[in-house]
Protein backbone atom coordinates (compact mmCIF):
# COMPACT_ATOMS: atom_id res chain seq x y z
CA UNK A 1 0.00 0.00 0.00
CA UNK A 2 2.71 2.48 1.04
CA UNK A 3 4.62 1.85 -2.18
CA UNK A 4 1.60 3.09 -4.15
CA UNK A 5 1.90 6.41 -2.35
CA UNK A 6 5.52 6.58 -3.39
CA UNK A 7 4.62 5.74 -6.99
CA UNK A 8 2.01 8.55 -7.04
CA UNK A 9 4.58 10.93 -5.54
CA UNK A 10 7.12 9.97 -8.22
CA UNK A 11 4.47 10.55 -10.93
CA UNK A 12 3.85 14.06 -9.55
CA UNK A 13 7.56 14.89 -9.74
CA UNK A 14 7.75 13.26 -13.15
CA UNK A 15 4.88 15.50 -14.35
CA UNK A 16 6.98 18.55 -13.42
CA UNK A 17 9.95 17.08 -15.30
CA UNK A 18 7.91 16.28 -18.42
CA UNK A 19 6.25 19.69 -18.48
CA UNK A 20 9.60 21.44 -18.18
CA UNK A 21 11.10 19.21 -20.86
CA UNK A 22 8.29 19.97 -23.30
CA UNK A 23 8.50 23.70 -22.59
CA UNK A 24 12.27 23.76 -23.05
CA UNK A 25 12.03 21.76 -26.26
CA UNK A 26 9.50 24.24 -27.62
CA UNK A 27 11.72 27.11 -26.44
CA UNK A 28 8.90 28.57 -24.37
CA UNK A 29 9.87 27.82 -20.80
CA UNK A 30 7.66 29.93 -18.57
CA UNK A 31 7.42 30.51 -14.88
CA UNK A 32 4.27 28.96 -13.59
CA UNK A 33 2.67 27.41 -10.59
CA UNK A 34 2.43 23.96 -12.14
CA UNK A 35 5.92 22.86 -11.10
CA UNK A 36 5.50 24.14 -7.57
CA UNK A 37 2.08 22.49 -7.26
CA UNK A 38 3.31 19.21 -8.74
CA UNK A 39 6.28 19.18 -6.38
CA UNK A 40 4.07 20.20 -3.46
CA UNK A 41 1.69 17.32 -4.20
CA UNK A 42 4.62 14.94 -4.64
CA UNK A 43 5.93 16.09 -1.26
CA UNK A 44 2.56 15.39 0.39
CA UNK A 45 2.56 11.82 -0.94
CA UNK A 46 6.22 11.37 0.08
CA UNK A 47 5.36 12.51 3.59
CA UNK A 48 2.37 10.17 3.70
CA UNK A 49 4.57 7.28 2.59
CA UNK A 50 7.22 7.99 5.23
CA UNK A 51 4.56 8.45 7.89
CA UNK A 52 2.86 5.11 7.14
CA UNK A 53 6.19 3.32 6.87
CA UNK A 54 7.34 4.91 10.15
CA UNK A 55 4.18 3.83 11.94
CA UNK A 56 4.59 0.29 10.66
CA UNK A 57 8.20 0.18 11.82
CA UNK A 58 7.54 2.01 15.06
CA UNK A 59 10.51 4.30 14.36
CA UNK A 60 11.96 6.71 11.84
CA UNK A 61 11.89 4.88 8.48
CA UNK A 62 15.63 4.67 7.86
CA UNK A 63 16.19 0.95 8.19
CA UNK A 64 17.38 0.12 4.67
CA UNK A 65 18.77 1.69 1.49
CA UNK A 66 15.29 2.04 -0.02
CA UNK A 67 14.04 4.12 2.92
CA UNK A 68 17.26 6.15 3.00
CA UNK A 69 16.83 7.09 -0.67
CA UNK A 70 13.18 8.05 -0.17
CA UNK A 71 14.03 10.04 2.95
CA UNK A 72 16.78 11.81 1.00
CA UNK A 73 14.34 12.64 -1.82
CA UNK A 74 11.92 13.95 0.82
CA UNK A 75 14.71 16.11 2.32
CA UNK A 76 15.49 17.55 -1.12
CA UNK A 77 11.82 18.43 -1.66
CA UNK A 78 11.56 19.81 1.90
CA UNK A 79 14.58 22.10 1.49
CA UNK A 80 13.25 23.18 -1.90
CA UNK A 81 9.87 24.04 -0.37
CA UNK A 82 11.60 25.99 2.37
CA UNK A 83 14.17 27.88 0.32
CA UNK A 84 12.42 27.83 -3.04
CA UNK A 85 10.48 31.05 -2.39
CA UNK A 86 13.82 32.84 -2.09
CA UNK A 87 14.56 32.00 -5.72
CA UNK A 88 12.46 31.54 -8.82
CA UNK A 89 10.15 28.83 -7.60
CA UNK A 90 9.25 26.91 -10.69
CA UNK A 91 12.71 27.14 -12.17
CA UNK A 92 14.47 25.68 -9.17
CA UNK A 93 11.70 23.09 -9.17
CA UNK A 94 12.52 22.35 -12.79
CA UNK A 95 15.99 21.34 -11.66
CA UNK A 96 14.91 19.71 -8.39
CA UNK A 97 12.21 17.43 -9.78
CA UNK A 98 14.56 15.34 -11.99
CA UNK A 99 16.81 14.62 -9.01
CA UNK A 100 13.86 13.48 -6.90
CA UNK A 101 12.56 11.34 -9.77
CA UNK A 102 15.99 9.71 -10.10
CA UNK A 103 16.25 9.01 -6.37
CA UNK A 104 12.71 7.66 -5.99
CA UNK A 105 12.75 5.89 -9.35
CA UNK A 106 15.91 4.07 -8.36
CA UNK A 107 14.49 3.24 -4.93
CA UNK A 108 11.34 1.80 -6.52
CA UNK A 109 13.07 -0.19 -9.25
CA UNK A 110 16.15 -1.53 -7.47
CA UNK A 111 15.62 -4.51 -5.12
CA UNK A 112 16.81 -2.60 -2.06
CA UNK A 113 13.66 -2.60 0.07
CA UNK A 114 14.92 -5.43 2.25
CA UNK A 115 12.78 -5.71 5.38
CA UNK A 116 14.56 -6.61 8.58
CA UNK A 117 13.65 -10.09 9.77
CA UNK A 118 13.36 -8.74 13.32
CA UNK A 119 11.85 -5.43 14.33
CA UNK A 120 14.62 -2.86 14.81
CA UNK A 121 14.15 -1.23 18.20
CA UNK A 122 13.71 2.55 18.28
CA UNK A 123 16.74 4.59 19.31
CA UNK A 124 15.94 8.29 19.38
CA UNK A 125 19.61 9.39 19.30
CA UNK A 126 20.37 7.21 16.31
CA UNK A 127 17.22 8.36 14.52
CA UNK A 128 18.10 11.99 15.20
CA UNK A 129 21.63 11.42 13.89
CA UNK A 130 20.41 9.73 10.71
CA UNK A 131 17.55 12.10 9.95
CA UNK A 132 19.53 15.32 10.54
CA UNK A 133 22.37 13.97 8.40
CA UNK A 134 19.93 13.19 5.59
CA UNK A 135 18.31 16.62 5.76
CA UNK A 136 21.85 18.03 5.48
CA UNK A 137 22.19 15.90 2.33
CA UNK A 138 19.01 17.58 1.08
CA UNK A 139 20.67 20.99 1.49
CA UNK A 140 23.78 19.71 -0.30
CA UNK A 141 21.54 18.42 -3.09
CA UNK A 142 19.93 21.85 -3.47
CA UNK A 143 23.39 23.45 -3.49
CA UNK A 144 24.29 21.01 -6.26
CA UNK A 145 21.14 22.00 -8.19
CA UNK A 146 21.92 25.71 -7.74
CA UNK A 147 25.45 24.87 -8.94
CA UNK A 148 24.03 23.33 -12.12
CA UNK A 149 21.89 26.43 -12.66
CA UNK A 150 24.95 28.63 -12.14
CA UNK A 151 27.04 26.68 -14.62
CA UNK A 152 24.24 26.64 -17.22
CA UNK A 153 23.92 30.40 -17.00
CA UNK A 154 27.66 31.02 -16.86
CA UNK A 155 28.18 28.90 -19.97
CA UNK A 156 25.49 30.78 -21.91
CA UNK A 157 26.96 34.14 -20.85
CA UNK A 158 30.45 33.10 -21.90
CA UNK A 159 29.44 31.67 -25.27
CA UNK A 160 26.98 34.52 -26.02
CA UNK A 161 24.29 31.96 -26.89
CA UNK A 162 21.31 32.78 -24.73
CA UNK A 163 18.47 30.27 -24.76
CA UNK A 164 14.92 30.59 -23.50
CA UNK A 165 15.82 29.24 -20.05
CA UNK A 166 18.49 31.93 -19.60
CA UNK A 167 15.85 34.60 -19.15
CA UNK A 168 14.27 32.67 -16.28
CA UNK A 169 17.42 32.02 -14.29
CA UNK A 170 18.19 34.22 -11.29
CA UNK A 171 21.19 36.57 -11.65
CA UNK A 172 24.61 34.92 -11.27
CA UNK A 173 25.48 36.78 -8.07
CA UNK A 174 22.12 35.84 -6.49
CA UNK A 175 22.64 32.20 -7.44
CA UNK A 176 26.09 32.22 -5.94
CA UNK A 177 24.76 33.72 -2.72
CA UNK A 178 22.14 30.94 -2.67
CA UNK A 179 24.82 28.28 -3.17
CA UNK A 180 26.83 29.68 -0.28
CA UNK A 181 23.82 29.79 2.06
CA UNK A 182 22.79 26.23 1.14
CA UNK A 183 26.33 24.99 1.70
CA UNK A 184 26.42 26.59 5.15
CA UNK A 185 22.98 25.19 6.02
CA UNK A 186 23.99 21.71 4.89
CA UNK A 187 27.35 21.93 6.63
CA UNK A 188 25.88 23.00 9.98
CA UNK A 189 23.22 20.27 9.84
CA UNK A 190 25.79 17.69 8.82
CA UNK A 191 28.11 18.72 11.66
CA UNK A 192 25.22 18.35 14.13
CA UNK A 193 24.38 14.99 12.52
CA UNK A 194 27.94 13.68 12.81
CA UNK A 195 28.38 14.98 16.34
CA UNK A 196 25.12 13.35 17.46
CA UNK A 197 26.36 10.08 15.98
CA UNK A 198 28.90 9.86 18.80
CA UNK A 199 26.11 9.94 21.40
CA UNK A 200 23.99 7.09 20.11
CA UNK A 201 25.29 4.67 22.73
CA UNK A 202 26.40 2.28 20.04
CA UNK A 203 29.88 1.54 18.73
CA UNK A 204 30.33 3.28 15.35
CA UNK A 205 31.69 1.23 12.44
CA UNK A 206 35.04 2.68 11.35
CA UNK A 207 34.09 2.75 7.64
CA UNK A 208 31.03 4.88 8.35
CA UNK A 209 32.99 7.30 10.52
CA UNK A 210 35.73 7.70 7.92
CA UNK A 211 33.22 8.22 5.11
CA UNK A 212 31.20 10.76 7.11
CA UNK A 213 34.32 12.72 8.06
CA UNK A 214 35.53 12.62 4.43
CA UNK A 215 32.26 14.26 3.29
CA UNK A 216 32.49 16.76 6.14
CA UNK A 217 36.08 17.64 5.18
CA UNK A 218 35.14 18.00 1.54
CA UNK A 219 32.42 20.56 2.29
CA UNK A 220 34.60 22.25 4.92
CA UNK A 221 37.29 22.73 2.26
CA UNK A 222 34.79 24.22 -0.20
CA UNK A 223 33.46 26.61 2.44
CA UNK A 224 36.92 27.61 3.61
CA UNK A 225 37.97 28.24 0.00
CA UNK A 226 34.88 30.35 -0.42
CA UNK A 227 35.36 32.17 2.88
CA UNK A 228 39.00 33.09 2.15
CA UNK A 229 38.17 33.86 -1.49
CA UNK A 230 40.54 31.23 -2.81
CA UNK A 231 38.01 29.43 -5.01
CA UNK A 232 36.21 31.24 -7.83
CA UNK A 233 32.38 31.04 -7.91
CA UNK A 234 32.40 28.84 -11.01
CA UNK A 235 34.64 26.32 -9.27
CA UNK A 236 32.50 26.43 -6.13
CA UNK A 237 29.46 25.61 -8.30
CA UNK A 238 31.34 22.73 -9.96
CA UNK A 239 32.58 21.49 -6.58
CA UNK A 240 29.00 21.46 -5.26
CA UNK A 241 28.13 18.99 -8.02
CA UNK A 242 31.23 16.88 -7.40
CA UNK A 243 30.71 17.08 -3.63
CA UNK A 244 27.12 15.89 -3.77
CA UNK A 245 28.01 13.06 -6.17
CA UNK A 246 30.75 11.91 -3.79
CA UNK A 247 28.45 12.33 -0.77
CA UNK A 248 25.70 10.32 -2.45
CA UNK A 249 28.10 7.52 -3.35
CA UNK A 250 29.46 7.44 0.19
CA UNK A 251 25.91 7.50 1.60
CA UNK A 252 25.21 4.39 -0.39
CA UNK A 253 28.40 2.85 0.94
CA UNK A 254 27.62 3.85 4.53
CA UNK A 255 24.05 2.52 4.36
CA UNK A 256 25.15 -0.66 2.59
CA UNK A 257 27.87 -1.31 5.17
CA UNK A 258 25.43 -0.51 7.99
CA UNK A 259 22.96 -3.04 6.56
CA UNK A 260 25.60 -5.74 6.27
CA UNK A 261 26.97 -4.79 9.68
CA UNK A 262 23.57 -5.17 11.34
CA UNK A 263 22.76 -8.36 9.43
CA UNK A 264 22.90 -11.39 11.69
Amino acid sequence: MDRYLLIISTICFLAAVVRTGIALRAGVFRQGRFNFLAIGLGFVFQTAFLSIRGQALGRCPLTNLFEVFVFLAWSVALIYMLVGPAYRLSLMGAFTAPLVVLLQGFALIAPIDARHPVKVPANSSLEFHASVSLIAYGAFALACIAGVMYLVQERQLKTHHLRSIFYHLPPLTDLFAAITRLLWLGFILYTVGIASGFFTGRPLPRVQVVAAIAVWLLYATILLGRYFRRIAPKRVAALCIVGFSVALTLLWGITFSAQTHSAP
Binding site: L157, L162, S164, Y167, L172, R229, A232, P233, K234
Partner: protein, 358 residues
Protein backbone atom coordinates in the same frame (compact mmCIF):
# COMPACT_ATOMS: atom_id res chain seq x y z
CA UNK B 1 -22.87 48.57 -37.88
CA UNK B 2 -19.81 48.30 -40.13
CA UNK B 3 -16.55 47.94 -38.31
CA UNK B 4 -13.48 48.85 -40.29
CA UNK B 5 -9.84 49.84 -40.07
CA UNK B 6 -8.15 52.08 -42.61
CA UNK B 7 -4.51 52.95 -42.29
CA UNK B 8 -0.95 52.90 -43.39
CA UNK B 9 2.05 51.53 -41.57
CA UNK B 10 5.76 50.89 -41.90
CA UNK B 11 4.81 47.87 -44.03
CA UNK B 12 3.14 49.98 -46.69
CA UNK B 13 4.37 53.58 -46.48
CA UNK B 14 7.56 55.47 -45.83
CA UNK B 15 7.93 57.91 -42.97
CA UNK B 16 7.23 60.96 -45.15
CA UNK B 17 3.87 59.57 -46.19
CA UNK B 18 3.06 58.51 -42.65
CA UNK B 19 3.79 61.92 -41.18
CA UNK B 20 1.52 63.61 -43.73
CA UNK B 21 -1.39 61.67 -42.27
CA UNK B 22 -0.33 61.68 -38.62
CA UNK B 23 -3.06 64.09 -37.62
CA UNK B 24 -3.96 64.86 -34.03
CA UNK B 25 -7.06 63.99 -32.06
CA UNK B 26 -9.04 66.51 -34.09
CA UNK B 27 -9.26 63.95 -36.87
CA UNK B 28 -11.74 61.92 -34.83
CA UNK B 29 -14.24 64.77 -34.93
CA UNK B 30 -13.74 65.18 -38.68
CA UNK B 31 -14.23 61.45 -39.14
CA UNK B 32 -17.48 61.54 -37.22
CA UNK B 33 -18.62 64.40 -39.36
CA UNK B 34 -17.78 62.27 -42.40
CA UNK B 35 -20.25 59.58 -41.27
CA UNK B 36 -18.42 57.45 -38.70
CA UNK B 37 -20.61 56.77 -35.67
CA UNK B 38 -17.47 55.94 -33.71
CA UNK B 39 -13.84 56.66 -34.59
CA UNK B 40 -10.43 56.20 -33.07
CA UNK B 41 -7.12 57.32 -34.56
CA UNK B 42 -4.04 55.36 -33.64
CA UNK B 43 -1.03 57.44 -34.71
CA UNK B 44 2.46 56.24 -33.79
CA UNK B 45 5.82 56.63 -35.49
CA UNK B 46 5.18 53.40 -37.40
CA UNK B 47 1.50 53.61 -38.23
CA UNK B 48 -1.51 55.83 -38.72
CA UNK B 49 -4.74 53.90 -38.44
CA UNK B 50 -8.39 54.76 -38.10
CA UNK B 51 -10.69 52.31 -36.37
CA UNK B 52 -14.28 53.16 -37.02
CA UNK B 53 -17.84 51.95 -36.80
CA UNK B 54 -20.47 53.35 -39.15
CA UNK B 55 -23.98 52.62 -40.37
CA UNK B 56 -23.05 53.28 -43.97
CA UNK B 57 -19.73 52.71 -45.66
CA UNK B 58 -17.24 55.56 -45.37
CA UNK B 59 -14.78 55.35 -48.21
CA UNK B 60 -11.02 55.10 -47.79
CA UNK B 61 -10.61 58.37 -49.71
CA UNK B 62 -12.87 60.20 -47.29
CA UNK B 63 -10.93 58.84 -44.33
CA UNK B 64 -7.59 59.74 -45.93
CA UNK B 65 -8.90 63.24 -46.47
CA UNK B 66 -9.86 63.52 -42.79
CA UNK B 67 -6.40 62.42 -41.75
CA UNK B 68 -4.47 64.91 -43.83
CA UNK B 69 -2.46 67.34 -41.73
CA UNK B 70 -3.01 71.10 -41.61
CA UNK B 71 -6.03 71.13 -43.82
CA UNK B 72 -3.96 69.92 -46.75
CA UNK B 73 -6.23 69.02 -49.65
CA UNK B 74 -5.41 65.84 -51.44
CA UNK B 75 -5.67 65.31 -55.11
CA UNK B 76 -8.21 62.49 -55.59
CA UNK B 77 -6.14 60.60 -58.11
CA UNK B 78 -3.07 60.96 -55.91
CA UNK B 79 -4.99 59.83 -52.84
CA UNK B 80 -6.07 56.64 -54.61
CA UNK B 81 -2.40 55.78 -55.16
CA UNK B 82 -1.64 56.09 -51.46
CA UNK B 83 -0.72 52.85 -49.75
CA UNK B 84 -3.75 52.66 -47.46
CA UNK B 85 -5.03 49.29 -46.41
CA UNK B 86 -8.56 48.58 -45.34
CA UNK B 87 -9.84 45.79 -43.16
CA UNK B 88 -13.51 45.13 -42.50
CA UNK B 89 -15.25 43.22 -39.70
CA UNK B 90 -13.37 40.01 -38.85
CA UNK B 91 -10.16 41.16 -40.56
CA UNK B 92 -10.36 44.45 -38.70
CA UNK B 93 -10.73 42.69 -35.35
CA UNK B 94 -7.83 40.40 -36.16
CA UNK B 95 -5.66 43.29 -37.28
CA UNK B 96 -6.24 45.28 -34.09
CA UNK B 97 -5.46 42.25 -31.93
CA UNK B 98 -2.23 41.72 -33.87
CA UNK B 99 -1.28 45.39 -33.57
CA UNK B 100 -1.96 45.54 -29.83
CA UNK B 101 0.03 42.34 -29.28
CA UNK B 102 3.04 43.76 -31.12
CA UNK B 103 2.87 41.22 -33.98
CA UNK B 104 2.53 43.93 -36.61
CA UNK B 105 5.30 46.09 -35.16
CA UNK B 106 8.63 46.78 -36.81
CA UNK B 107 10.32 45.04 -33.86
CA UNK B 108 8.11 42.00 -33.28
CA UNK B 109 6.86 41.79 -29.71
CA UNK B 110 7.65 45.36 -28.68
CA UNK B 111 5.33 46.45 -25.91
CA UNK B 112 5.27 50.20 -26.50
CA UNK B 113 2.46 49.80 -29.01
CA UNK B 114 0.09 48.54 -26.32
CA UNK B 115 0.65 51.69 -24.29
CA UNK B 116 0.15 53.81 -27.39
CA UNK B 117 -3.06 51.98 -28.23
CA UNK B 118 -4.35 52.47 -24.68
CA UNK B 119 -3.47 56.16 -24.87
CA UNK B 120 -5.26 56.55 -28.21
CA UNK B 121 -8.30 54.76 -26.80
CA UNK B 122 -8.32 56.93 -23.69
CA UNK B 123 -8.04 60.09 -25.73
CA UNK B 124 -10.87 59.06 -28.08
CA UNK B 125 -13.02 58.03 -25.14
CA UNK B 126 -12.48 61.39 -23.45
CA UNK B 127 -13.49 63.22 -26.61
CA UNK B 128 -16.58 61.02 -26.91
CA UNK B 129 -15.51 59.52 -30.22
CA UNK B 130 -15.59 55.96 -28.86
CA UNK B 131 -18.96 54.28 -28.44
CA UNK B 132 -19.95 50.81 -27.22
CA UNK B 133 -18.71 49.07 -30.36
CA UNK B 134 -15.11 50.33 -30.29
CA UNK B 135 -15.07 50.25 -26.49
CA UNK B 136 -15.74 46.56 -26.53
CA UNK B 137 -13.32 45.89 -29.35
CA UNK B 138 -10.45 47.73 -27.68
CA UNK B 139 -11.07 46.27 -24.25
CA UNK B 140 -10.83 42.84 -25.81
CA UNK B 141 -7.69 43.88 -27.72
CA UNK B 142 -6.00 44.86 -24.43
CA UNK B 143 -6.97 41.51 -22.94
CA UNK B 144 -5.60 39.64 -25.95
CA UNK B 145 -2.32 41.59 -25.83
CA UNK B 146 -1.91 40.77 -22.15
CA UNK B 147 -2.61 37.10 -22.76
CA UNK B 148 -0.15 36.96 -25.65
CA UNK B 149 2.53 38.55 -23.47
CA UNK B 150 1.85 36.16 -20.60
CA UNK B 151 1.49 32.93 -22.55
CA UNK B 152 4.23 33.32 -25.16
CA UNK B 153 7.82 34.52 -25.14
CA UNK B 154 7.05 37.17 -27.75
CA UNK B 155 8.38 40.01 -25.56
CA UNK B 156 11.34 38.07 -24.20
CA UNK B 157 14.90 39.39 -24.55
CA UNK B 158 16.22 42.72 -25.72
CA UNK B 159 16.53 43.66 -29.34
CA UNK B 160 18.72 46.75 -29.23
CA UNK B 161 22.42 46.86 -28.42
CA UNK B 162 22.00 49.23 -25.46
CA UNK B 163 19.21 47.29 -23.81
CA UNK B 164 20.99 43.96 -24.40
CA UNK B 165 24.02 45.31 -22.50
CA UNK B 166 21.87 46.48 -19.60
CA UNK B 167 19.87 43.25 -19.47
CA UNK B 168 23.07 41.22 -19.40
CA UNK B 169 24.41 43.38 -16.59
CA UNK B 170 21.25 42.63 -14.62
CA UNK B 171 21.59 38.91 -15.34
CA UNK B 172 25.10 38.99 -13.90
CA UNK B 173 24.71 41.36 -10.95
CA UNK B 174 20.98 41.40 -10.22
CA UNK B 175 20.39 44.79 -8.62
CA UNK B 176 22.52 47.39 -10.38
CA UNK B 177 22.27 49.96 -7.58
CA UNK B 178 25.46 48.69 -5.96
CA UNK B 179 27.39 48.29 -9.20
CA UNK B 180 30.32 50.52 -10.07
CA UNK B 181 30.61 51.43 -13.72
CA UNK B 182 33.56 52.87 -15.63
CA UNK B 183 32.95 54.40 -19.05
CA UNK B 184 36.19 54.52 -21.00
CA UNK B 185 35.86 56.85 -23.98
CA UNK B 186 33.15 59.46 -24.38
CA UNK B 187 31.38 58.27 -27.53
CA UNK B 188 27.66 58.37 -28.31
CA UNK B 189 27.10 54.64 -27.85
CA UNK B 190 28.87 54.67 -24.47
CA UNK B 191 26.70 57.56 -23.43
CA UNK B 192 23.53 55.71 -24.45
CA UNK B 193 24.62 52.57 -22.64
CA UNK B 194 25.65 54.57 -19.56
CA UNK B 195 22.29 56.33 -19.55
CA UNK B 196 20.49 52.99 -19.80
CA UNK B 197 22.48 51.71 -16.82
CA UNK B 198 21.71 54.83 -14.80
CA UNK B 199 18.02 54.41 -15.64
CA UNK B 200 18.21 50.91 -14.10
CA UNK B 201 19.64 52.14 -10.83
CA UNK B 202 23.40 52.60 -11.27
CA UNK B 203 24.61 55.45 -9.05
CA UNK B 204 28.40 55.03 -9.10
CA UNK B 205 29.42 55.95 -12.63
CA UNK B 206 32.90 57.09 -13.60
CA UNK B 207 33.93 58.48 -16.97
CA UNK B 208 37.44 58.52 -18.33
CA UNK B 209 38.61 59.88 -21.66
CA UNK B 210 41.85 61.03 -23.24
CA UNK B 211 40.35 64.51 -23.28
CA UNK B 212 39.50 65.34 -19.67
CA UNK B 213 37.17 68.05 -20.84
CA UNK B 214 34.98 65.58 -22.77
CA UNK B 215 35.06 63.13 -19.88
CA UNK B 216 33.88 65.88 -17.56
CA UNK B 217 31.10 66.91 -19.95
CA UNK B 218 29.81 63.34 -20.35
CA UNK B 219 30.05 62.74 -16.61
CA UNK B 220 27.89 65.78 -16.01
CA UNK B 221 25.34 64.68 -18.61
CA UNK B 222 24.92 61.19 -17.18
CA UNK B 223 25.27 62.10 -13.53
CA UNK B 224 28.68 60.52 -12.94
CA UNK B 225 32.17 61.76 -12.14
CA UNK B 226 35.20 62.10 -14.37
CA UNK B 227 38.43 60.23 -13.78
CA UNK B 228 41.90 61.02 -15.17
CA UNK B 229 42.65 58.82 -18.18
CA UNK B 230 45.99 57.67 -16.76
CA UNK B 231 44.09 56.20 -13.77
CA UNK B 232 41.67 54.00 -15.71
CA UNK B 233 43.66 50.81 -15.04
CA UNK B 234 43.50 51.45 -11.31
CA UNK B 235 39.75 52.06 -11.61
CA UNK B 236 39.33 48.71 -13.36
CA UNK B 237 40.21 46.94 -10.10
CA UNK B 238 37.21 48.54 -8.42
CA UNK B 239 34.47 48.53 -11.06
CA UNK B 240 31.94 45.82 -11.91
CA UNK B 241 31.03 47.03 -15.38
CA UNK B 242 33.45 48.48 -17.89
CA UNK B 243 32.19 50.18 -21.06
CA UNK B 244 34.98 50.90 -23.52
CA UNK B 245 34.75 52.88 -26.73
CA UNK B 246 38.10 54.57 -27.20
CA UNK B 247 39.71 55.09 -30.59
CA UNK B 248 42.84 53.23 -29.58
CA UNK B 249 44.49 51.25 -32.39
CA UNK B 250 45.77 48.57 -30.05
CA UNK B 251 43.78 46.70 -27.39
CA UNK B 252 43.89 48.48 -24.04
CA UNK B 253 43.03 45.35 -22.12
CA UNK B 254 44.60 41.94 -22.55
CA UNK B 255 45.09 38.95 -20.26
CA UNK B 256 48.52 40.23 -19.23
CA UNK B 257 47.37 43.56 -17.82
CA UNK B 258 43.91 42.37 -16.75
CA UNK B 259 45.20 39.36 -14.77
CA UNK B 260 46.66 41.42 -11.87
CA UNK B 261 43.52 43.58 -11.78
CA UNK B 262 41.40 40.47 -11.18
CA UNK B 263 43.65 39.04 -8.48
CA UNK B 264 41.75 40.59 -5.58
CA UNK B 265 38.25 40.17 -6.93
CA UNK B 266 37.88 36.43 -7.31
CA UNK B 267 34.20 36.38 -6.32
CA UNK B 268 33.20 39.56 -8.15
CA UNK B 269 32.51 39.17 -11.86
CA UNK B 270 33.65 41.80 -14.34
CA UNK B 271 31.34 42.62 -17.22
CA UNK B 272 33.10 44.32 -20.13
CA UNK B 273 31.11 45.97 -22.89
CA UNK B 274 33.53 46.73 -25.70
CA UNK B 275 31.78 48.88 -28.28
CA UNK B 276 34.95 50.24 -29.87
CA UNK B 277 35.95 49.45 -33.43
CA UNK B 278 38.77 48.43 -33.54
CA UNK B 279 38.18 46.64 -30.29
CA UNK B 280 39.67 47.90 -27.04
CA UNK B 281 39.75 44.50 -25.39
CA UNK B 282 41.56 41.39 -26.57
CA UNK B 283 38.83 38.74 -27.18
CA UNK B 284 40.87 36.13 -25.31
CA UNK B 285 39.98 38.04 -22.13
CA UNK B 286 36.53 36.40 -22.31
CA UNK B 287 38.17 33.10 -21.41
CA UNK B 288 39.40 34.46 -18.08
CA UNK B 289 37.59 33.35 -14.93
CA UNK B 290 34.80 35.72 -13.93
CA UNK B 291 35.11 37.96 -16.97
CA UNK B 292 32.22 38.37 -19.39
CA UNK B 293 33.25 40.22 -22.51
CA UNK B 294 30.72 41.42 -25.06
CA UNK B 295 31.89 43.31 -28.12
CA UNK B 296 29.54 45.02 -30.55
CA UNK B 297 29.10 41.86 -32.65
CA UNK B 298 28.30 39.76 -29.58
CA UNK B 299 25.71 42.29 -28.44
CA UNK B 300 24.16 42.34 -31.91
CA UNK B 301 24.17 38.58 -32.00
CA UNK B 302 22.26 38.44 -28.69
CA UNK B 303 19.79 41.02 -30.02
CA UNK B 304 19.28 38.89 -33.13
CA UNK B 305 18.82 35.75 -31.05
CA UNK B 306 16.11 37.52 -29.04
CA UNK B 307 14.42 38.65 -32.22
CA UNK B 308 14.60 35.14 -33.67
CA UNK B 309 13.15 33.77 -30.43
CA UNK B 310 10.32 36.28 -30.67
CA UNK B 311 9.64 35.30 -34.28
CA UNK B 312 9.38 31.65 -33.28
CA UNK B 313 6.57 32.69 -30.95
CA UNK B 314 4.47 34.27 -33.66
CA UNK B 315 2.55 31.06 -34.41
CA UNK B 316 1.56 30.64 -30.75
CA UNK B 317 0.51 34.29 -30.56
CA UNK B 318 -1.52 33.99 -33.78
CA UNK B 319 -3.32 30.97 -32.34
CA UNK B 320 -4.33 32.96 -29.25
CA UNK B 321 -5.49 35.82 -31.44
CA UNK B 322 -7.50 33.54 -33.76
CA UNK B 323 -9.27 32.07 -30.73
CA UNK B 324 -10.17 35.52 -29.44
CA UNK B 325 -11.32 36.75 -32.84
CA UNK B 326 -13.69 33.80 -33.19
CA UNK B 327 -14.96 34.22 -29.64
CA UNK B 328 -15.43 37.96 -30.01
CA UNK B 329 -17.37 37.64 -33.26
CA UNK B 330 -19.50 34.84 -31.87
CA UNK B 331 -20.44 36.86 -28.80
CA UNK B 332 -21.28 39.93 -30.85
CA UNK B 333 -23.30 37.78 -33.26
CA UNK B 334 -25.25 36.21 -30.37
CA UNK B 335 -26.01 39.62 -28.92
CA UNK B 336 -27.18 40.92 -32.27
CA UNK B 337 -29.53 37.94 -32.60
CA UNK B 338 -30.77 38.44 -29.05
CA UNK B 339 -31.37 42.14 -29.61
CA UNK B 340 -33.19 41.42 -32.87
CA UNK B 341 -35.41 38.87 -31.07
CA UNK B 342 -36.30 41.23 -28.22
CA UNK B 343 -37.03 44.20 -30.46
CA UNK B 344 -39.21 42.08 -32.71
CA UNK B 345 -36.95 42.53 -35.72
CA UNK B 346 -36.16 39.50 -37.83
CA UNK B 347 -33.04 37.73 -36.55
CA UNK B 348 -29.76 38.03 -38.37
CA UNK B 349 -29.66 35.48 -41.15
CA UNK B 350 -28.86 31.98 -39.90
CA UNK B 351 -26.41 31.72 -37.11
CA UNK B 352 -23.49 33.32 -38.86
CA UNK B 353 -22.48 36.92 -38.73
CA UNK B 354 -22.42 38.79 -41.99
CA UNK B 355 -18.85 39.93 -42.58
CA UNK B 356 -19.82 43.56 -42.84
CA UNK B 357 -21.93 43.53 -39.70
CA UNK B 358 -21.13 43.60 -36.08
Amino acid sequence: MNLFCVGLSHHTANVETRERFASGAGAECTLRAAGCAEALVLATCNRVEVYGASEKRVSTDEIAQCLLQNGEVSDRSHSRALPFYRYEAEKCVQHLFRVASGLDSMVVGETEILGQTKKAYQSARTSGAVGPCLHRLFQRAFRVAKQVRTHTEITRGSVSVGSVAVDLAQKIFGELANCRVLVLGAGDTSERTARALVSRGVTDLRVSNRSNHRAHELAQRVGGRSVQFDRWAQQCCEVDILITSTSSDVPLLNPTNLGPMLANRIDRPLFIIDIAVPRDVDPIVNEMEGVYLYDIDALRSVAEQSLAMRRRQIASAEAIIAEHVADFLQKVSCELRGAAGISGHPPVADSSLRPSQL
